[in-house]
């Protein structure tokens, strides 16, 4: 199996999808000759041409709105939004149209499509190239919200998303684009987005996270193990719908739970996990459910490393819940 970065794995998934199905088309800013500002679509324009890999005018409203029209027609569009932070000019199309199309038409019209977009911090991008907006989408029934945590996961989840009947917001953890490497199967395969992944089994504390935070949590878990705390790490994969069952089962075993995310804390997906776990595991919980998250401030520039949860912050929380009595 070849070793791939997450960027390569995504590029590979896109090429496989386009080869497999002529209806898969891509559109977005700078995805053509430039291959995307991160290079995720590198080579695809040369291979599949102007009609299937479309550079667009600078309008996220237009990118998402026209992609919906293509999906309604029967194509499988995979629009790219250059940064998740720039999805908001097209937010109305996501919330009002993409998410509600199937429901409002009584199931007669659907728009299966995948909005790919780099998300989260890690590149010194300040307010507008670093945000983690998953909670906005996860509060919007009708959407699927998916975020991979490793190259293999990225490829399998992206292919699953493209060949799926619901509209998907596919958040790519840009911090991992070049900094993660893994052996990834060649050719077509999918990963089940309806099931969270147990990235590490453990019996003392359950830590839920997703995207770029998973590897940080894994590092923290390894260090906690040295101190004798056995951490179970759950990679959520999907935030809507989300797999509460796997989390609940884990916490019933460990009795302690932490949710780790980059996004601001209030009304976040970490809050959702905490609320659900606190409700469903009330009899097994031996400590408060802790949330490790970005602060309730915009994403900063110079102090990015302070804003984003790091290994120390996660360990701090592990200590806190593990030692709670």
């Amino acid at each position: 199996m070849p070793e791939m970065t997450m960027l390569k794995a995504i590029n590979d998934a896109l090429r496989i999808a386009m080869t497999k199905d002529d209806d898969v088309v891509m559109l977005g800013e700078d995805i053509g000759k430039k291959g995307g500002v991160f290079g995720a679509t590198e080579g695809l324009h040369a291979e599949f041409g102007d009609l299937r890999v479309m550079d667009t005018p600078l309008s996220e409203c237009g990118i998402i709105g026209t992609a919906i029209g293509m999906a309604l027609y029967g194509l499988k569009p995979v629009p790219e939004i250059q940064f998740q932070d720039f999805i908001f000019p097209g937010f109305d199309q996501i919330v009002s149209e993409m998410a509600k199309m199937r429901y409002r038409s009584g199931g007669h019209f659907t728009c299966p499509m995948v909005v790919r977009t780099p998300s989260g911090g890690g590149i010194r991008g300040g307010h507008y190239h670093s945000q983690s907006g998953e909670a906005y989408f996860a509060h919007t029934p009708g959407l699927r919200v998916v975020m991979p945590s490793t190259p293999r996961e990225a490829k399998g989840l992206l292919l699953a998303s493209i060949f799926n009947d619901d509209p998907v917001i596919f958040l790519e953890p840009k911090a991992l684009y070049r900094h993660s490497k893994e052996e990834v199967e060649e050719g077509f395969f999918t990963v089940d987005m309806d099931k969270a992944r147990i990235a590490r089994t453990g019996k003392d504390v359950t830590v839920c996270s997703w995207g770029a935070m998973v590897s940080i949590v894994m590092d923290a878990a390894a260090e906690a193990a040295e101190k004798g705390i056995d951490v179970e790490v759950i990679d959520m994969r999907s935030m809507l719908p989300w797999d509460a069952e796997t989390v609940i089962e884990s916490v019933r075993k460990t009795g302690r739970c932490i949710a780790v995310q980059e996004a601001p804390r209030t009304c976040s997906f970490a809050s959702e996990i905490a609320a659900t776990v606190a409700e469903k595991c009330v009899d097994s919980l031996e400590a408060p459910v802790a949330r490790v998250s970005g602060f309730d401030t915009p994403f900063p520039y110079s102090l990015e490393h302070v804003y984003k949860p790091d290994k120390k912050r996660v360990l701090n929380a592990i200590d806190y819940v593990a030692n709670w009595q």
Partner: protein, 372 residues
């Protein structure tokens, strides 16, 4: 055709006066009249039902029948429609069963949309009529995208987007027009300028001299046409469609018309509209104008219209009765069609609701009246 001069046929001065656009036979003219007339009757009934408290909301298109049917008649069956909420006329022209219309108005168990949307928010898959939503303008980018899709697939199908003068201010107007023009996509943008966006008059909507001129910004032809002249609208649309199919790209058509009723069943125009303005447009009623022209051509007779009317009213009455007596959708349908399959988290919410109803009885419908 031009973005500033207005195309007229029905009672235009000079040589246009009285000519029949190419391709239209007497039967076509009669079908057009019939569709306009039916729309008028249906709208009267819809407004009445709302006034009687039998349905919650209705949007009529009084005065805009020519603007709509002229276009509807120019479309091909395979074309794809991205309509606004004020456009039932074209669905009827394309043969939609009236029961669907009233099932939707009641949001009953047989409604195509399963009672999930307000009245007038239709979806008619069998005539390529896309699902309508309330946010103004969102369908415009969809139309551009569907037109691009047809181009990608190599299909000779045209997408039609409808919106009002108010809709031209939306984000999606700007994006949809721009994308379609850059792509040279087979798309027709129909701006029904009925002079009002609820209470906001067209001159507060845009400082441009016409709405058709907005096409210049996108490098697209813009056409201004008398929207109360069904033949002029037909001709303009026909030409735009020919262009689209020939690969020459999109067109913006402004039909200059007037909203001869309230914005919707919830609106009262007397607060913001002068009686004189209304009356000046009443004189240009598109049905009256077309009737007069047809009469001159001896295609129309009073008897024919009377018979039509009787038939139509009976048809409407039957459909109303059927829809009204159909029950509301079952409670558990609330959870279907959010996703392709109901996920575990939502199944749990459904189960909890069903369980509660089992234990504590039915949920009371407390009603609520729509203000807009």
């Amino acid at each position: 055709m031009s973005a500033t001069k207005m195309l007229q046929i029905l009672d235009a001065p000079g040589k246009d006066k009285g000519r029949t656009p190419a391709g239209l036979k007497n039967d076509d003219l009669k079908a057009m009249f019939r569709a306009m007339f039916f729309t008028r009757l249906l709208d009267q009934r819809g407004m009445n039902l709302q006034r009687q408290g039998r349905i919650g909301f209705y949007v009529p298109s009084f005065g805009q029948e020519a603007s709509q049917i002229g276009a509807g008649y120019a479309m091909a069956d395979e074309d794809i429609l991205f309509p606004s909420y004020r456009l039932i006329s074209i669905a009827l022209l394309r043969g939609i069963d009236l029961r669907h219309v009233f099932n939707q108005a009641w949001g009953n168990a047989e409604d195509v949309c399963k009672g999930r949307q307000m009245p007038n928010h239709y979806a008619f898959p069998e005539i390529n009529w896309q699902s309508i939503s309330s946010p103004i303008g969102t369908q415009i980018t969809h139309a551009a995208g569907a037109a691009r899709a047809a181009q990608i697939r190599g299909d000779k199908r045209v997408s039609w987007a409808w919106f009002g003068d108010g809709g031209t201010s939306s984000n999606d107007f700007h994006a949809g027009m721009n994308f379609a023009a850059v792509w040279k996509a087979p798309c027709i943008f129909m701006c029904e300028n009925n002079h009002w966006a609820i209470s906001v008059p067209q001159e507060m909507q845009s400082a441009s001299a016409t709405f058709a001129e907005k096409a210049v910004a996108y490098g697209m032809p813009g056409v201004r046409v008398d929207g109360n002249d069904v033949l002029a609208v037909y001709e303009a649309c026909r030409e735009a469609r020919d262009r689209a199919v020939a690969g020459k790209g999109p067109t913006l058509i402004e039909t200059v018309t007037f909203r001869m009723g309230p914005h919707s069943s919830s609106d009262d125009p007397s607060k913001y509209q002068s009686k004189e303005l209304f009356e000046s447009w009443q004189k240009k009623d598109p049905i009256d104008r077309f009737r007069a022209w047809m009469k001159g051509k001896r295609i129309w007779t009073q008897k024919w219209e009377d018979e039509l009317k009787e038939q139509m009213l009976a048809e409407i009455a039957t459909a109303v009765e059927a829809a009204e007596s159909t029950p509301a959708p079952a409670i558990d349908t609330l959870f279907d069609d959010v996703w392709a399959e109901i996920p575990a988290m939502l199944l749990e919410q459904k189960a909890a609701l069903i369980d509660q109803i089992r234990r504590t009885g039915d949920i009371e419908d407390t009603g609520g009246a729509f203000p807009l």
